[in-house]
Amino acid sequence: MKKPREIIKSPDFQVFLFLLGFFLFGKPFLDMITSKPDQSSFLFLLLTWSILIILLFVISIFVGEDEGK
């Protein structure tokens, strides 16, 4: 089994994250979690966005580390 590090820096994970983000930022999903327009959807978006930024930060740490050696 691959290590989390290897998984994170793999292109597949990035594609997965992109699809996940696309899904999470997708309007159908937003409607699904928020029946009416209120702050929650905005917060959800901000939260998700923040998580993505964090994940991107983690990814940025690992990707290309082999090439740097």
Binding site: Q14, L17, G21, F42, I53, V63, G68
Partner: protein, 1332 residues
């Protein structure tokens, strides 16, 4: 409100500050950090974002977030997509988005043009928005009238435009090479991004927490309707889902494919690692810059600001809160957002326009030359043009609602690049045709469904198509394409444009084939991420144990080399790789080591075989292969060579390789040809060398002297034979000699001069040359002249051949011929000698010649002397005394005498007075020496002269010998003829006198004597008696009667030896006939006994009146003649005896026959005398009838014996008195048969049988015993029958008396033709009267 001048100054200072930062960055070459790089990317947040987000949020809710969420989602894939584009940029040195797409699709200029046009078209409105925002916010913030009429909105706009142009050129278009990094500009954008963010955060924080009491206050105080508006995700009249997703998609594409974003993210990327920072920092930036959008929008609404002007809430809020500093900060922030966007966009567009629109279409004319030289200025012009177009466009649209959505419209335009770029990066089959189709179709759909409706709705274009559809087809209405409704315009456009774009791109790529270069680029781009992206070769780890690698190679090489060689070769390889002192090596060193080893092996077994053997044996492990692949990738990346360049180089190297291979083949072929030529040349050279060697060998060893000389006779080159011919030790000696000096005869030298003067090209001559030792030889010289262009003889090549032998041979042959011809006319040896001497004098030549003969010769010498006038020949006998003669003939071999050195009698005598040299040549043959020929002359006799003399003497000897033999042969022939005559005489006559006469004549003639006689020996009285003689003067010798042992003849007969008395005068020994012979004057006497069959028959005496010196032949001939005489005598005596015997025998026969006849007569008494009578009468009749004389004797004998057969008839019948009865007659008639039986055995009587056997036959055939008829009866019998009947009739018989002759004759006549032959009867009748 703020004073305009303050705004202007601050703005100007801000810009100057940015300029200084940029300049400082570039001057100091400050490295662009990942954060700077990331912040520069925040140029994405333009004034439209800065101001429009709040406005969008206020009117449409959270939809604005898609502008930032989309990029965040896109950034997740940046390590895959952006890094790939950066690599492509690094590889292909691309300068813009158009470049990227163009290069991917086979460097299609058309695609670049389309991309540039789309970008240009999509950017101008965007610029207009940015300029509009600046001007709008300036109007908002500026205190009206604070700057007078000069600084009106238009003037400020132009000022801003100029400022933008200036700074754009200063920051972004200062360098010609767009690929060069604009560090200053990037730094400036980063600063602007910070200013932009800080200002926005400042307004957000201050608004939220200063103007209001935080988020709760804002959201709690907001009306529910406004709150729902703020938190809804789309406009009310559109499909919220589609709109949300459309915007999300558009922003995703925008963050990557907007020209400015592409430029800063890709072109300005110095290190792809910066992407890693950008991946999290840019989303964070976007997050931060949007986090206060909703609060600000809510605060604006709460503050009572008109919702229509929500775009300026950010600026209005500080103003209404009377916070000019914050307002100014916001303005600066917005200003930064706008200017940064304009500058970077303008810069990229100017590059694209100049590179893809202007330069490609200016070819081969003056303008193009100017443009190519002024590309930078052209770009400046484009910058000016673009910014001014943006400015005028914002003036044109004014306050139109279009401006609100202008950003997203641009996004939609840029989104058309997405399928082409993404497909190009990740789908290898995506090709140029698909790109064309996708881009064009997407662009057209974008124009038809988005641009046209906006312009039509704005009233700038006819709305007919908008209302009725294209060509009046409602199905083709721009906003409801194919009857598709219910979508907002953006989503509608995005859907159809992407539908056609992606579909046609896919179809085009499927239906059309990529060319090879496109395939190569696609393959390269597709795999570009698999290579390492290090900017420099990483230090390679040395982890391969060298000893282990050496061991493997050693085992491998030992298969081909001996261990010692292997170690040496490996050591050389290690030294070449400079790893001989290492324990561990890196992968590259390992590969280099293998490469050197392979080269070593190639030198042994050839490159191909070495390669195959190496690949089969020395293989890299997987890890080694991977490592070396990475190294190669790193090297390629490090080289930063665009993929096109690599491709070009690969193609170049492939072509070069092909060319090299072809060239190699050609070289190989030429090499082979050259090798063949070289081989042929070597063979030719070798052949030439061999030929030269052969020629030199031939030149030196050819038995003919070869030379080259100048016309003056100076020898240039000669061969060894030439040296040997002339008797010199070496070539140098000869070469120092002038050829003319070698000539003996001065005339030959003169001839040579004539040859040169006449420029004869070829010449042959025979000259006498002089050897070093002074000896001479005859040489045949052949010259060939070689001339220069002026026809001047340069040199002569010639041959020298020693023809002395040939000359001598010719001379000898001539001598032989002449001497033979001369001697031909001389039959006797005596005649030959003078001829021989005369010719010898001429042939040698010589002055005097003398032939001295041996003692036995009749002549003494023959002298031949020659002077200037004649040749004198003197033949003399008995000149020299015996001693001198013996001395002159007493040499048995050729001998040379020289005056004053060897004394000789001939010097100073005879004709030899004037000679200094004397040659003696003995002449003779088997039978003995003839004599010695003496030749004298002034000059020395050479060997050739001696040899010539020998040849001449041999010929003379041969001729003399032949002459002598001829003479002897003639003599013998005469002797034989004489003997033949004697033989004839002996054979033809038994008369001894005649035989002796012939014999004596031949004796005298052949023996050349004067007289001869023959004395016959009578053994009874043992004495010799004269038989015949000849040549005597008198007949007194006829009475010679000599007893045996008396005189010479008696002694000769007695001793049976020849008695020779050479001189009778000196001999007084008891010859009884001396006195007689004295009268004959005989001197020489020979007495030869005549002996035949051992019996002395007599003596042949020879007399000569001169002295005889008989040789053996004479003596032998004498004996032969004596033998002949003896034979003649013996024959004569034998013949005489034989005659006597025959005679006696014949007499005896005849007597016997007659006796038998008388006996018959006596028995038959009545026929007494009858036989004798009928015999005689028969002979007569036979003669009469003409019978030959020889037959008469047989008739006589037959007649005598005609009734011999009656001896077999009994007496009672024979003597019966009466007639015989029939039986008795039968017996009587048998007597002829009895006669035959009795006489036939006697040969003597063989021819006499006809009468006894046939005399009773009758002419008519009625006789007996054989009843012969006519001429069948032998003639003797027919004759005898008539005589027998006649005698019987005429004789008395007991039974009758004798008939008369007439009656008998009548009867005979009557019986003619019956009993007798009529012709014989006729003869009988004719004979009757005479004989009977």
């Amino acid at each position: 409100m703020i004073n305009i001048w303050v705004i202007l100054i601050i703005s100007l200072l801000y810009m100057v500050g940015l300029f200084l930062i940029a300049t400082f960055t570039e001057k100091r070459n400050i490295k662009i950090s990942p954060i700077v790089y990331t912040l520069s990317l925040a140029v994405y947040c333009t004034s439209w974002t800065f101001y429009g987000s709040v406005g969008k949020a206020a009117t449409s809710g959270l939809i604005f977030l898609t502008i930032y969420l989309g990029p965040t989602l896109a950034i997740i894939l940046w390590w895959i997509i952006l890094r790939r584009m950066v690599r492509i940029k690094n590889t292909y040195k691309i300068t813009s988005l158009a470049d990227l797409i163009s290069i991917r699709y086979d460097k299609s200029r058309g695609i670049a043009v389309i991309v540039t046009l789309i970008t240009f078209a999509g950017s101008i409105p965007y610029f207009a928005v940015q300029i509009k925002s600046i001007l709008s916010t300036f109007e908002v913030i500026a205190k009206p009238g604070s700057a007078g009429s000069f600084l009106s909105s238009n003037s400020f706009g132009l000022f801003i435009v100029i400022l933008l142009i200036l700074f754009t050129i200063l920051f972004g278009v200062r360098k010609l090479a767009p690929t060069e990094h604009h560090k200053g500009m990037v730094m400036m954008f980063a600063v602007e991004s910070i200013v932009k963010l800080l200002s926005f955060l400042a307004v957000g924080i201050i608004t939220t927490f200063v103007f209001f009491d935080g988020f709760d206050q804002i959201f709690n105080f907001l009306p529910q309707e406004s709150l729902q508006t703020l938190f809804r995700v789309s406009e009310e009249n559109s499909n919220p889902y589609i709109t949300w997703m459309s915007w999300l998609f558009l922003s995703m594409t925008a963050i990557q494919f907007l020209p400015r974003q592409f430029h800063l993210a890709v072109v300005e990327n110095e290190d792809e690692k910066h992407i890693r920072t950008a991946m999290w920092l840019l989303p964070l930036y976007l997050f931060l810059i949007t986090i206060f959008v909703i609060p600000i929008a809510g605060a604006g609404i709460l503050s009572g600001l008109p919702i229509e002007k929500a775009d300026t809430f950010v600026l209005d809020l500080p103003i209404i809160q009377n916070n000019p500093a914050l307002a100014l900060l916001v303005f600066i922030g917005g200003f930064s957002a706008a200017t940064s966007m304009i500058m970077v966009s303008t810069m990229t567009i100017s590059t694209m326009v100049s590179n893809h629109l202007i330069l490609p279409f200016t070819k081969n004319n003056t303008i193009s030359i100017i443009i190519k030289k002024r590309i930078l200025q052209v770009r400046w012009l484009v910058v000016v043009l673009v910014i001014f177009m943006g400015f005028f466009f914002q003036k044109l649209i004014g306050d139109s609602q279009i401006l609100v959505n202008i950003g997203i419209i641009s996004f939609a335009a840029i989104a058309q690049f997405a399928p082409t770029i993404i497909g190009g990066l990740f789908w290898k089959r995506g090709n140029k045709a698909g790109a064309y189709l996708g881009l064009i179709s997407g662009c057209l759909i974008w124009i038809f469904t988005m641009v046209y409706p906006i312009l039509a709705n704005a009233g700038w274009l006819s709305a007919q198509i908008l209302n009725n559809g294209l060509f009046g087809i409602s199905f083709l209405k721009p906003e409801q394409l194919f009857g598709f409704s219910g979508l907002d315009p953006i989503s509608h456009t995005l859907f159809w444009s992407m539908f056609f774009n992606i579909s046609l791109y896919f179809l085009g790529s499927i239906l059309f084939q990529q060319n090879i270069s496109e395939q190569f680029i696609a393959e390269d781009i597709f795999s570009i991420l698999t290579s390492k992206s290090a900017q420099s070769l990483s230090p390679q780890k040395e982890h391969f144990l060298l000893s282990e690698k050496i061991r493997v190679v050693e085992i491998f090489l030992n298969e081909y080399l001996n261990p010692k060689e292997t170690k040496i070769k490996i050591q050389k390889c290690l030294e070449l790789c400079q790893i001989e002192n290492k324990k561990k090596i890196s992968i590259t060193e390992l590969v280099e080591f293998h490469h050197e080893v392979e080269k070593v092996l190639a030198s042994v077994i050839g490159a191909a075989a070495a390669r195959e053997a190496f690949q089969n044996t020395i293989q890299l492990s997987n890890s080694e292969t991977t490592e070396i692949s990475q190294v190669y990738s790193e090297i390629l990346t490090k080289l930063k060579i665009p993929i096109t360049e690599i491709k070009r180089k690969i193609e170049y190297y492939q072509e070069r390789e092909e060319l090299l291979i072809a060239h190699g083949k050609e070289i190989k072929q030429k090499s082979q040809e050259r090798d063949q030529l070289l081989k042929a040349k070597q063979e030719t050279e070798q052949a030439l060398k061999q030929s030269e060697t052969d020629f030199i060998r031939f030149f030196e060893s050819v038995p003919i002297g070869l030379f080259r000389s100048t016309p003056s006779g100076q020898l240039i080159n000669i061969n060894e034979t030439f040296v040997h011919l002339l008797g010199y030790a070496n070539k140098n000696e000869v070469l120092q000699t002038n050829a003319l000096d070698l000539y003996v005869n001065p005339n030959d030298r003169q001839k040579w001069q004539e040859i040169i003067q006449n420029l004869d090209k070829d010449y042959e001559t025979i000259v006498l040359l002089k050897r070093k030792d002074g000896s001479t030889f005859w040489a045949e010289l052949k010259y060939k002249a070689f001339s220069n262009l002026k026809s001047e003889v340069q040199f002569y090549d010639g041959t020298v051949e020693d023809i002395s032998e040939k000359i001598q041979h010719d001379k000898e042959q001539t001598a032989k011929f002449e001497i033979s011809e001369a001697l031909q006319h001389s039959e006797t040896p005596e005649n030959m000698i003078p001829v021989f001497l005369e010719k010898t004098l001429k042939l040698l030549p010589a002055n005097s010649a003398l032939m001295s003969f041996v003692e036995s010769s009749e002549i003494d010498w023959v002298l031949c002397t020659e002077n200037a006038f004649s040749t004198q020949i003197l033949t003399t006998s008995k000149f020299f005394d015996l001693r001198t003669r013996r001395e002159l003939t007493n040499i048995n071999e050729n001998k040379i005498y020289q005056r004053n050195y060897q004394e000789h009698i001939l010097f100073d005598t005879l004709g030899f007075l004037d000679v200094d040299f004397l040659a003696g040549i003995p002449l003779g043959f088997e039978e003995g020496k003839i004599g010695v020929a003496w030749i004298g002359r002034k000059e020395r006799f050479s060997e050739d002269d001696i040899r010539l003399l020998g040849i001449i003497s041999e010929i003379v000897q041969s001729n003399i010998h032949q002459a002598i033999l001829h003479k002897q042969t003639q003599k013998r022939l005469e002797n034989v003829q004489a003997l033949h005559k004697i033989d004839l005489a002996i054979a033809s006559s038994l008369d001894l006198r005649l035989t002796f006469d012939v014999l004596l004549s031949q004796v005298i003639e052949q023996l050349n004597v004067d007289a001869a006689d023959i004395l016959l020996y009578d053994p009874s009285i043992r004495s010799l008696e004269y038989a015949a003689g000849k040549g005597f003067f008198s007949d007194v010798l006829k009475s010679t009667f000599i007893n045996l042992n008396e005189g010479y003849a008696g002694i000769a007969a007695s001793n049976r030896n020849i008695i020779s008395v050479p001189d009778l005068r000196e001999d007084t020994g008891g010859l009884p006939r001396d006195t007689i012979l004295d009268k004959e004057h005989f001197i020489t006497y020979f007495g030869v006994p005549l002996i035949a069959k051992g019996q002395v028959q007599g003596v042949l005496e020879i007399f000569n009146r001169s002295k005889l010196s008989p040789d053996n032949e004479w003596t032998n001939y004498l004996e032969t003649l004596a033998g002949q005489a003896a034979i003649a005598i013996e024959n004569a005596l034998l013949f005489e005896d034989l005659q006597n015997t025959n005679r006696n025998l014949f007499q005896a026969y005849e007597t016997t026959l007659e006796g038998w006849a008388r006996a018959l007569d006596l028995r038959d008494k009545e026929t007494e005398g009858h036989t004798q009578r009928v015999t005689e009468m028969s002979i007569k009749l036979a003669k009469k009838y003409g019978v030959s004389k020889d037959s008469l004797e047989h008739i006589r004998r037959g007649a005598l014996l005609h009734d011999i057969g009656k001896m077999g008839i009994p007496d009672k019948i024979l003597l019966k008195p009466g007639p015989l009865d029939e039986e008795e007659w039968i017996i009587m008639k048998k007597h002829p048969v009895y006669a035959l039986r009795l006489l036939a055995p006697i040969p003597f009587l063989e021819n006499a049988l006809d009468i006894p056997y046939c005399h009773h036959e009758k002419w008519d055939g009625t006789g007996y015993p054989r009843q012969l008829e006519g001429k069948e009866i032998p003639i003797a019998a027919r004759i005898f029958s008539i005589i027998d009947v006649w005698d019987a009739l005429c004789s008395n018989r007991p039974y009758r008396p004798a008939w008369t002759k007439e009656k008998a004759l009548s009867y005979i006549s009557e019986q003619s033709g019956k009993h007798f032959d009529p012709k014989i009867v006729q003869a009988f009748i004719q004979l009757y009267p005479e004989k009977f």
